[in-house]
Symmetry: C2
Subunit: 368 residues, 2 copies
Amino acid sequence: MGDSLIWLSVLVSPQCFIQYICMNNIVRSDCMAATIKDVAKLAEVSISTVSRVINESKPVSPEARRRVLKAIEDLGYKPNEIARSLVTKKSNLIGVIVDDIGNSYVAQIVRGIEEIGRMYKYDILLCSSYGNEESELRFMQLLMQKQVEGMIIVSEIETKKITESVKKYKIPFVYLNRFYDILQTPTVTLDNELASIIMVKHLLELGHKNILYISNGNNIERTIEKYKVKGYKETVNNAGLTPIIYNVNGYKIEDAYNAGSEIINIIKNNNITAIYCCQDELAIGLINYLYDNNIKVPDELSVVGYGDIGISSIYRPKLTTIKEPYYDLGAVAIRRILKELKGESIDEQTIKLPVQLIIRESAVQMKN
Amino acid sequence: MGDSLIWLSVLVSPQCFIQYICMNNIVRSDCMAATIKDVAKLAEVSISTVSRVINESKPVSPEARRRVLKAIEDLGYKPNEIARSLVTKKSNLIGVIVDDIGNSYVAQIVRGIEEIGRMYKYDILLCSSYGNEESELRFMQLLMQKQVEGMIIVSEIETKKITESVKKYKIPFVYLNRFYDILQTPTVTLDNELASIIMVKHLLELGHKNILYISNGNNIERTIEKYKVKGYKETVNNAGLTPIIYNVNGYKIEDAYNAGSEIINIIKNNNITAIYCCQDELAIGLINYLYDNNIKVPDELSVVGYGDIGISSIYRPKLTTIKEPYYDLGAVAIRRILKELKGESIDEQTIKLPVQLIIRESAVQMKN
DNA sequence: CTGAAAGCGCTAACAC
DNA sequence: GTGTTAGCGCTTTCAG
């Protein structure tokens, strides 16, 4: 009886030992990640010490540090960011709600956001709303639940609801809108008026006197289109000339193509020699129409666009246009958020980014 | 003395009450989100009950439910997903590492991933590696720390390191590579061989006998280009004709433009009437060169591409090409991950998606 | 310098 | 049906 008891105790002990190893090393590393506890156990220190060497938050003796580092290495330990976030209340997440990541300009913006965010160890949580206001609202809530520290909304719709509801979330956010003019909320926009001024001046310098502006705005007042129109009118007026504006219904290549014959009439009646379109798509559609009707661009007529969409540099003739710095737009937006997160004051409500004139082939010097 | 004691107790009591309210309602709702505790307190139930009504995990009496719902409403309470993730070990996050979100095809893939993921309540954590292998590895680690449940890598580089190191992370992942042929790892690809067969057959049906293939591959063996070449050769051979292949150095518009004169020689020497380019960019560069050298496409020569990049439908002549379903690629990739996450078995290692022939204007019936 | 212990906000046994 | 309690993996006092 005494013997068997001894046997038992000898048997139990190694079993427990094996169990212990399994729970904390073998099994762990096989099906789930090692935790700070495992590291502490292996290094024979407390979890606080492990935490200290990971975060370098407090001095740790060289010996302890060595052991901890070794244990981390051996276990392939990586801190669980979720747990860390819970206690520090820092998710290092920025929520980004876009209209459609498939739009190339949107992708450029996101690229800027992501690249700069990354530099400051922020990750991007991406949502596409596809222009649906309800989705935007739902995503905002969802992102809040995921504890994002800031939010950037890249939208194409004018949504008072969004900008209002965002105010109740007490986190930094920036609203990027390509079409609408929303001044009540922090935003980063492009200097569209300056863009128009630069473009019209360029055309003027090429010797053009009668410059037609093709707009796509009906209800211009709340959109940024009004700034482009303003810049155009101003510059033409200042040159002592008369602005002429034609409104196309829509913003697609076909839309301009379909308006082609009407535009040709205007050209003839007003002796137009240069056309400034409010979007590249319209310029291309128009040039296509002109080409199909034997009017050569730029030989007989100069046509310029706005936006520098991907096709513009490949299209023949290569389009003279205005390049909008979408990457920078994203970069500035997130910088602004990061700044606010650091507690620095945001001086200006709205930041205006400069645009760039890209001179290519579709507009040339007037021959007289 | 007795009086003042009574006074004191009367005074203290309301103060405590006010303090209590402040801590759990006023102050809270002003600077930080309400927690489950606040809801429980307001509704006068335990936190478990609150949890139960939120998750509908267990029956709750109508009365308690009503009170909880009201408290949630009043406090604007939203569960903290981070805390929830920590205990449930479900982050509802899918990590996506892309080469460059600025590439339009990459954006399309991400669009597919995002849209389908969203349907199953998964969020996308996005990283751009810009083709840097080290970044990819670093992001993989970072995403693991963020506890993503699955990972999709959209890369343009051939990275054995990546595919190997991904194996140590025990989570579902899919590797999407546009150029390289990596069979050791789960992937979703396009049926490039079939694409070539379809395209060459189309050209054959148009009456073309001498079809030149423009490839961009030097070291073709490890890339998917070999499948395109295979499909081309096979189909031409089966028609009793002779394949002719020209290799362009590079994959950009200029690269094909610069190879223009050499290609024209081949055309003349071999009586070529149709050219099949392995990428749209090359087709466009070539057509530009031909145009500049007074060879009309498609009147004198048919030229087709591969990829259906954005420009292809706008370019004149509109390019006949192969459309790759990038959106679907992303959608299938995430579906596969979701499936694996649900514990369903993944039958095939590699999924091949069909491509689509887009007939436009750049290739026409032979006139004889 | 180090460890014990509290707690972030939540879920999930476990008792009642 | 409901409340109590023990964690999830981590950081951060607070004592020693």
